[in-house]
């Protein structure tokens, strides 16, 4: 029997690619539907165009479904982690565990806020975590969480936020508010049973704090975000 240990391949790049594909397909389908007004075409051109677009739409939907199913079922990553941020940071594979927990939580928050179509990048979350890891660790949890919040903002972990006019939070604030919600939740003490309710609570609180969060984010005020975490983490 061999003594070689086999490292499990990192599935994150594949997940990321599939999510990106799904995002483009969904956006592409919407763009086609919104762009063409086939009624203005004369017959039989409008009939041909209708058939072609219907078939293109069916194709996009089927590819979208395949990409969604593969991303969800084969590659996992849909359970919301109950580990607090402090514990995640101390794990051997902290960057990977953080990015997975962050991705699942952020997509849940975005759905709650009515912005389900925003693309979230797990790879960017991992890169943001790496940037934080290089800094001094002898700080309070809320300070590190605040720094990580700005690393995540700078890494552009969310794409397509400005198109979300129907969300509970305006597009311009959506990024900072939803990131704040996830980071607040990650710091909160919670049991497995309360985990999802705690995430929704953090999301509701972030919406209520949207003006303060947006102002602090615009001014790149790490201390102010840390102060908000400190003040509200025990109330999630």
């Amino acid at each position: 029997m061999s003594n070689h240990s086999f490292h499990r391949p990192d599935a994150m790049p594949l997940r990321e690619a599939l999510r990106g594909l799904r995002f483009v397909l969904r956006r592409g389908g919407e763009a086609i539907a919104e762009t063409f007004d086939l009624d203005v075409l004369p017959k039989p051109a409008s009939d041909f165009a209708n058939v072609a677009l219907r078939e293109a739409g069916d194709f996009l939907r089927s590819v979208d479904e395949i990409a969604s199913d593969v991303a969800k079922n084969l590659l996992g990553g849909s359970a919301i982690s109950a580990l607090p941020l402090q514990d995640i940071m101390e794990k051997p594979n902290a960057r990977g565990d953080f990015a997975v927990a962050f991705y699942v939580a952020l997509t849940t928050v975005l759905r709650h806020l009515g912005a389900a179509k925003v693309l979230v990048s797990e790879a960017a979350a991992r890169a943001a975590f790496d940037r934080l890891s290089g800094r001094v660790s002898e700080e309070t949890v809320e300070n590190r969480a605040a720094q990580l919040t700005f690393c995540l903002l700078n890494a552009r972990v969310m794409r397509g936020t400005t198109a979300q006019q129907a969300a509970l939070v305006p597009g311009a604030s959506l990024e900072a508010v939803s990131l704040f919600a996830v980071m607040l939740w990650l710091q909160a003490a919670r049991s497995d049973e309360e985990n999802e309710a705690a995430l929704m609570a953090a999301s509701d609180m972030a919406v209520a704090l949207a003006p303060e969060i947006s102002a602090a984010a615009a001014e790149k005020d790490v201390a102010r975000i840390a102060a908000l975490y400190k003040k509200y983490v025990s109330h999630v």
Binding site: L168, R190, E194, A197, A198, M200, A201, A202, D204, M205, V207, A208, L209, Y232, S234, H235, V236
Partner: protein, 201 residues
Amino acid sequence: MSEIKLNTGVLPATNEPLRIAVRRMRWFKQAFQRFVEVTARDLGCTFEIDDVKLAAAFMRWLNAVEIQRPADKSERKAFFEFAAALVLRELTADLPLKATGPATLADSNSAAAFWPEGYCCTLFCLSVHAAAMEQEFHDQTALDPAIDDLRHWWSFKENTMQDTSFSSGFLQMLLGHQPNWMMPDVFRARIKSDLGAPPQN
């Protein structure tokens, strides 16, 4: 004796003391949702909850408690009682609740039929208060007979529309206290012989 009963049994179970749990958004939201659901069933009406307004009310209440909390530990119980009045102030300031039809099972001359949303929010505050007082101080909450007088509810609704602090005084009154109607939502301005205030030197 009033037929209005507080419903503490509907509040979610928690391993934490209620005074801690109530200051957590997740518990507060779940408690409010359950209370509204049961009240709607009892009254024969349907309520819609606005989660955004509910969260905003909760956050304003946290800030109000932080600002007004006395440093003197001897005032703890009095402030504990007062905190419920501040919850009602924040809920009525921007009601997170909307009745989508009349309360068909409520007596037409009752407070519940007159103002279902105000009634539900008031009973929620009283019920949480009663459960917390029982747990923390082994006190049984007794409601003032004023709760059955529809004229007080008329006054509550009308005055709260103009000045949200009024609802703080209304809740103190229902708990049998004499509110300072000039500043009913200011703990320091409460009438000193009331709300368990220490005797004056």
